[in-house]
C-alpha cells in the first residue's frame, strides 16, 4: 500500500518495537489512569476509563498482539483513537514523537512480511536506518468473529 503522499504519524514504543499510526486517527494522548475492568470481554480489553465525562473502552496493545505483558510505567500512555466514529483507547509503553514520512519511504507490508500479521499493517516506513511498522488500527481493533459470537451469547 505504498503511495506518494506524505504521511504524518504518531510514533510509539511497544515491547521494544516502534510503531506508527496515522495522526488523523489520533484524538488525544493521555497518561495512564485507573481502568475499570468490564467482565466477559476479550482478554486484551482492559476495561473502560472516564474521558472527560464519557466512558470509553481501553485496549492493551501488548495483549492484543500476544506480547509479553509488563507493568505500566510513568511513560505509559493511552492513545485515544477514532475508529469508525467510536473513541477507543490503546495502551502503549511510551509515545516518542510525531513524524512526517514521505510516501516514497513506505513499503507495502506484504512485500516484506509473509505472515498474516501483515493484515494489521499499513506499511513499513524506512527512516534513516530504522524501520517503523505502520499499524492499521481499524483492523487491529476490529472485533474478531469469535468475539462477536461470544458477545451475542452473553447478550
Amino acid at each position: 500500500m505504498a503511495d506518494e503522499a506524505e504521511r504524518q504519524l504518531v510514533v510509539f514504543d511497544l515491547a521494544g518495537e516502534a510503531y506508527g499510526v496515522n495522526i488523523g486517527t489520533v484524538r488525544e494522548i493521555i497518561r495512564m489512569q485507573a481502568v475499570t475492568h468490564v467482565p466477559e470481554t476479550p482478554d486484551f480489553v482492559e476495561g473502560v476509563i472516564n474521558l472527560r465525562g464519557r466512558v470509553i473502552p481501553v485496549v492493551d496493545l501488548r495483549k492484543r498482539f500476544g506480547l509479553e505483558t509488563s507493568e505500566h510505567t510513568s511513560d505509559s500512555r493511552i492513545v485515544v483513537v477514532d475508529i469508525a466514529g467510536h473513541d477507543i483507547g490503546v495502551i502503549v509503553d511510551a509515545v516518542t514523537e510525531v513524524l512526517r514520512v514521505a510516501g516514497a519511504s513506505i513499503e507495502s507490508a506484504s512485500a516484506l512480511i509473509t505472515t498474516e500479521d501483515s493484515y494489521y499493517m499499513d506499511g513499513i516506513a524506512k527512516i534513516g536506518d530504522r524501520l517503523l511498522i505502520l499499524l492499521d488500527l481499524d483492523r487491529v481493533l476490529q472485533l474478531t468473529s469469535d468475539q462477536l459470537a461470544a458477545q451475542s451469547v452473553a447478550a
Binding site: 485507573a34 475499570t36 475492568h37 468490564v38 467482565p39 466477559e40 470481554t41 480489553v45 476495561g47 473502560v48 476509563i49 472516564n50 465525562g53 464519557r54 466512558v55 470509553i56 473502552p57 475508529i83 467510536h86 477507543i88 481493533l141 472485533l143 462477536l148 458477545q151 452473553a154 447478550a155
Partner: protein, 701 residues
C-alpha cells in the same frame, strides 16, 4: 423528475418539519373523522392541512407530493361542502394517499421525492369523486401502461426527461351525455399540442378522427408549462367536466421502498417531539407560549446537567469533610454554606431538566388508533381503542423505546385476545371489542396498562405449548399452578397461535417485549380471566438518564445498584449464610433466600468463599418487583459504600452487551463504576435455586 435545485438545506428542513407535523395531524384527524363524520371543524382542519401541504410542496417543486395532495384536497373539498358523505371507502383512500405521502417524504431527506407511482392513489381518490369516470380511469390505467411499453413512446418520454422537460399525465373527462365526444377530444388535444408535445394519447389521433372515442381523453404530455397553464384551457372546452394534470412518474417503480419507510418512523419521534412541544398541533392544543429546540442541543444540555449532578455530590462530600476537620475556619464554613446552596440549585436544575425532557405519553398513544383500525380491518374484527391518561408525562428516552413493546401487546390483544364475532355474540359480549390503553403515574414510575375484553389467555393451551416446545415435561406442566403457567407466555417461541404479521422485523414474541421493557429498568406483568379478558401492566421508570443508586464494593471494584430493586441492606454474619442443596442461601429473619456474591455473579469466575466466623457479611436484598411472584435474593458485597444519584453513561458499542452489566457511571472523583443489571442477576439466582430443587426432586424420584 427534475425540480428546482435552488432549495437551501434550511428550506428543506423547515419544509420537512412542517410537512411531518401536517402528516401526523392528518393521520390522527382522518381516523377521528371516521367516528365524527359530521364534525365540520375537524373537516376544515383536515382540508386546511392538505391545502397547506399542497401549497408548500408545490412551491418547492415536489410535484408528486403536490399532485397527490391536490387530489386529496379535491376529495376533501367535496366532503367538507357536504357533497360527499364520509364513508369507510373515503377514509381508506385518504389513508392510502397519506401513506403514499409518507413514502414520498422519506426520500426527501436525500433531497428528492422517493419514486412512487401516485397514479393508482390519485385514481382511487378521483374514482370516489366521480364514479362514472372510475371505469374509464381503471381501464385507462393498464392501457396507458401498454402504450408506454411501446419502445418509441418510451424513447420519447426519455428524450423529454433528458431535455429537462417535465412529463404529465393529463386526463380529461367529458360529459357522459355529450354527443360530441370525438369533437371535444379533438379540441382538447389541440389545446395540448399548442403548449407542448403530446407523446401519446388514448384515444389516439387516428381514433379520434375515426370517432372511436370514449368519454375520457388521456395523454402523456411533455411541456415546460405549469400544470395550471395546461389545465385552464382544457376546462374551457365545452362539455369537459373534469381535468387532471398529474406528473408522470414513470410506469416502472411503484415498489414503495420499504427500507425508506423505516426512516420517517424513526425520524418522526424526534421531529414530533420538537414540533409538538411548540404546540403547533393545531386547534386541538391550546395556544401555548413555546419554542422549538433542536433535539441535539437538548441532549447536550442534558449531558452538562448530568456532569453537574456528579460534581455536586462531590462538592457536598468534600465540604462535609472539610467542615468536620476545620469547623472553626471561617472560610471553610463559608465554603460549606456555598456548596450547600450549589447542591440545592443543581438539584433544582436537574429536576427542571428532567421535566424539559418529559413528553406527554399521548404523543406515542396518538399513533395507536391508526394501528387498531388497520388491525381491525385486517383481522375482520371490530375493535375500538380507548385511550386514557394521554397527558401523563414520560422521559423522551423512554417514550421512544416502549413503542415497539406496546405495539406488540396491542397486536397480541387484537390477534389472539379478541374473539371472532360469533364467539363474542354467543358469550353475550358486545360486537365491538374494546382495547383500553391507559397511563398514570405511581410513586416515581409510570404505569401503562393494556386491557382487552377478549377471551383471556387459554392457560391449558399455554401448558400444552410449553410441553410441545420441550420447556417442561408433561408432568411438570400439569403440576405448576395456573399463575406459574401463565408466566410461561414470556418464554421465547411459546406463542400458542403464531401469526407472523409485518412486525418491524425485530422479532415477534412476548420474550422480546419483556426483554425490551426490562432493558428500560421496567417490568411487565400479565393477568387474565378466562372469557373476560387480559391485562398487561408495564411499570417503567420516569427517566433513563439518572437513577437513585446504591454504591457497593465487591472484590476491589465498585458497582452501582438501582435503588428501585433494593428492599433493604443487611449487615449480618456467617450464621445467616448456609447451603441448601449445594446452593448458597441466606436466612434473614426466618426467610430463606438464594444468595450470590456480586463480583462472582457478574464475572462468573471464582468460587464462592464461605464467610468465616465473626466476619461481617454485608448483603443487599433485592427483588424484581412487588408482585407475589417476586422472590427476594441476597447479594453479598464486601462493603456498602453510599447512596447517590447515578448518571447513566453508555458503555458504548465496541464492548457490546455484557451480561449482568447495564451500563456505567462516573463518580464525583472520576472513577468509573459498572451499573449492575439486577433483574438478570435475580433471574439467574432464582433459576439456580429452581434447578437445584428440580435436580433434587429428580434424584429423589
Amino acid at each position: 423528475m427534475t425540480f428546482a435545485n435552488d432549495i437551501t438545506p434550511d428550506d428543506l428542513k423547515v419544509f420537512m418539519q412542517e410537512a411531518e407535523s401536517l402528516l401526523e395531524l392528518l393521520d390522527e384527524d382522518i381516523i377521528r373523522l371516521e367516528q365524527e363524520s359530521d364534525n365540520s371543524e375537524l373537516l376544515q382542519e383536515i382540508f386546511r392541512a392538505a391545502h397547506t401541504l399542497k401549497g408548500s410542496s408545490g412551491m418547492l417543486g415536489f410535484q408528486l407530493m403536490a399532485g397527490l395532495t391536490h387530489a386529496m384536497e379535491d376529495l376533501l373539498d367535496r366532503v367538507r361542502k357536504g357533497t360527499l358523505p364520509v364513508t369507510p371507502e373515503i377514509v381508506d383512500a385518504l389513508l392510502a394517499s397519506l401513506d403514499g405521502l409518507k413514502v414520498l417524504m422519506a426520500g426527501l431527506a436525500d433531497g428528492e421525492e422517493a419514486t412512487l407511482d401516485i397514479e393508482p392513489l390519485v385514481s382511487q381518490l378521483r374514482a370516489i369523486i366521480d364514479p362514472s369516470a372510475a371505469s374509464g380511469a381503471t381501464q385507462a390505467g393498464p392501457s396507458i401502461a401498454e402504450i408506454v411499453a411501446a419502445p418509441e413512446v418510451t424513447a420519447r418520454i426519455d428524450a423529454a426527461i433528458e431535455a429537462g422537460t417535465p412529463v404529465y399525465h393529463v386526463t380529461v373527462h367529458i360529459d357522459p351525455e355529450s354527443d360530441w365526444a370525438a369533437v371535444r377530444c379533438f379540441q382538447a388535444l389541440n389545446e395540448l399540442t399548442a403548449r407542448g408535445e403530446v407523446i401519446a394519447s388514448i384515444p389516439s389521433q387516428q381514433q379520434i378522427e375515426d370517432e372511436q372515442v370514449g368519454k375520457t381523453l388521456q395523454a402523456l404530455f411533455a411541456t415546460a408549462e405549469e400544470p395550471d397553464v395546461i389545465s385552464a384551457p382544457l376546462t374551457t372546452v365545452a362539455d369537459v367536466v373534469d381535468v387532471s394534470v398529474v406528473p408522470w412518474s414513470g410506469a416502472a417503480a411503484s415498489e414503495a421502498p420499504t427500507a425508506a419507510e423505516g426512516t420517517p418512523a424513526t425520524a418522526a419521534p424526534a421531529a414530533v417531539g420538537a414540533a409538538k412541544e411548540t404546540g403547533e398541533a393545531g386547534p386541538r392544543a391550546e395556544a401555548q407560549q413555546s419554542v422549538r429546540i433542536d433535539v441535539d442541543r437538548l441532549d447536550q444540555l442534558m449531558n452538562m446537567v448530568g456532569e453537574l449532578v456528579i460534581d455536586r455530590t462531590r462538592i457536598a462530600q468534600i465540604s462535609r469533610m472539610l467542615l468536620t476537620r476545620h469547623k472553626e475556619d471561617d472560610q471553610v464554613r463559608a465554603l460549606a454554606e456555598t456548596s450547600a446552596h450549589i447542591v440545592r440549585v443543581v438539584d433544582e436544575l436537574h429536576t427542571s431538566m428532567m421535566q424539559v425532557r418529559m413528553l406527554p405519553v399521548g404523543l406515542l398513544f396518538s399513533k395507536f388508533p391508526r394501528l387498531v383500525r388497520d388491525l381491525s380491518r385486517s383481522t375482520g374484527k371490530q375493535v375500538r381503542l380507548v385511550v386514557e391518561g394521554e397527558g401523563t408525562e414520560i422521559d423522551r428516552s423512554v417514550i421512544e423505546k416502549i413503542k415497539d413493546p406496546l405495539v406488540h401487546l396491542i397486536r397480541n390483544s387484537i390477534d389472539h385476545g379478541v374473539e371472532p364475532l360469533d364467539v363474542r355474540r354467543a358469550a353475550g359480549k358486545p360486537d365491538v371489542a374494546t382495547v383500553r390503553l391507559a397511563a398514570q403515574h405511581e410513586s416515581g414510575s409510570i404505569v401503562i396498562t393494556i386491557d382487552d375484553d377478549g377471551g383471556g389467555i387459554n392457560i391449558a393451551a399455554v401448558r400444552a405449548a410449553a410441553v410441545r416446545r420441550g420447556a417442561l415435561t408433561p408432568e411438570a406442566a400439569e403440576r405448576i399452578s395456573d399463575d406459574d403457567a401463565l408466566q410461561l407466555i414470556w418464554e421465547p417461541g411459546l406463542s400458542t397461535a403464531q401469526r407472523t404479521t409485518e412486525v418491524s422485523g425485530r422479532g415477534v414474541g412476548m420474550d422480546i417485549v419483556r426483554r425490551d421493557v426490562e432493558a428500560l429498568n421496567g417490568r411487565v406483568d400479565v393477568s387474565t380471566e378466562p372469557g373476560m379478558g387480559t391485562r398487561f401492566t408495564l411499570r417503567l421508570p420516569l427517566t433513563l438518564a439518572t437513577f437513585g443508586g446504591l454504591l457497593v464494593r465487591s472484590g476491589n471494584a465498585m458497582y452501582a445498584l438501582p435503588l428501585s430493586y433494593v428492599q433493604e441492606t443487611v449487615r449480618t454474619d456467617s450464621a445467616s449464610v448456609g447451603t441448601v442443596m449445594t446452593k448458597s442461601v441466606m436466612n434473614l429473619r426466618g426467610d430463606v433466600m438464594p444468595l450470590l456474591r456480586l463480583r462472582e455473579a457478574i464475572s462468573r469466575t471464582g468460587t464462592e468463599r464461605a464467610p468465616l466466623g465473626d466476619e461481617p457479611v454485608f448483603a443487599v436484598v433485592v427483588k424484581a418487583g412487588d408482585g407475589e411472584r417476586d422472590r427476594p435474593v441476597a447479594v453479598v458485597v464486601d462493603e456498602l459504600v453510599d447512596q447517590q444519584e447515578i448518571v447513566v453513561k453508555s458503555l458504548g458499542e465496541y464492548l457490546g452487551k455484557t451480561r449482568g452489566v447495564a451500563g456505567a457511571s462516573i463518580l464525583g472523583d472520576g472513577e468509573v463504576v459498572l451499573i449492575v443489571d439486577v433483574p438478570t442477576l435475580i433471574k439467574d439466582a432464582l433459576q439456580g435455586s429452581a434447578d437445584a430443587s428440580q435436580d433434587a426432586g429428580r434424584k429423589a424420584a
